[in-house]
């Protein structure tokens, strides 16, 4: 299918660290790589957890203040249930299990797939400074730490798009 203005490059900013937020960014990124689209993913603020070695595969989903969260069977999950100890871990574990069934890999393996196809992964300089981290803390798939200005330089080009999640 020939399109007039094809998407040639995507630059995805992942700013949140819950399971679903990170997966939204990674699925969009991996999908772009699979289409042969040049791909950059920029992790900032709490999204940074997705590239921190010892945190990336232990992400959680919010069980409090998440009005779309439902119990098995479709009933809305009452916020008060969310405060039960272990509820967040259990819900996160269930979510990851469901994703696994759809062949969605754990975060570390997802980064493997994205970079194997030529996608690039970056950390946000300001966040790295704020959380007092270094490249040592990050997955081997992280290409570097960028300032906002450098991110925009990487994003330059015709048919390039910026997606914020």
């Amino acid at each position: 299918m020939e399109k007039l203005n094809p998407v040639k490059k995507v630059n995805i900013i992942c700013s949140k660290g819950a399971v679903e937020d990170v997966y939204a960014a990674l699925i969009m990124a991996n999908g772009a790589v699979m289409e042969g689209i040049e791909t950059n993913v920029f992790f900032t603020f709490f999204g940074l957890d997705a590239i921190v070695k010892n945190r990336m595969d232990k992400l959680h989903t919010a069980v409090v203040g998440n009005p779309a969260l439902r119990l098995p069977g479709g009933l809305r999950m009452p916020t008060l249930l969310g405060i039960i100890p272990g509820m967040e871990s259990f819900t996160s574990w269930m979510m990851k299990g469901q994703m696994e069934k759809l062949d969605v890999p754990p975060v570390s393996e997802f980064l493997d797939l994205i970079t194997a196809g030529g996608g690039k992964v970056y950390a946000c300089k300001m966040t790295v400074d704020m959380f007092k981290m270094t490249m040592e803390d990050f997955s081997e798939h992280v290409s570097g730490i960028l300032t906002v200005g450098e991110f925009y330089e990487h994003a330059a080009g015709e048919g390039s798009h910026i997606i914020f999640t």
Binding site: M34, G36, D103, A116, G117
Partner: protein, 103 residues
């Protein structure tokens, strides 16, 4: 439904050029489709296409992740063998439908 002729054989394809009947596929046909895509097929290409065809025939969904579990090649090599959009190109050349998975 559209038809296309490869290596002297007429096959049924959809509007995007994917086979609608994988049983019409032959190695000679694959070589011709690959040529259209600018790819010269090697043993490695055929090995991974065999994996894709088997997986399709057994009704399993195809994903980029499944390539790593193929035992034939890893994903990085897959991207090198079928540059650009590897899963789309490989399934087209392997004579099976375009994968409907998002991963």
């Amino acid at each position: 439904m559209a038809q296309k002729t490869y290596a002297g054989v007429t096959v049924d394809v959809n509007e995007e050029g994917y086979f609608t009947d994988p049983s019409q596929w032959t190695i000679e046909i694959a070589v011709e489709i690959a040529k259209e895509e600018g790819i010269v097929l090697t043993d490695k290409h055929f090995a991974i296409m065999e994996f894709l065809r088997n997986r399709h025939n057994s009704g399993e969904a195809l994903s980029i992740r499944s390539i790593n579990h193929s035992g034939v090649i890893d994903v990085k090599t897959f991207y090198q063998l079928f540059p650009g959009a590897p899963l789309k190109k490989a399934t087209k050349i392997a004579g099976i439908p375009k994968p409907a998975s998002c991963v």
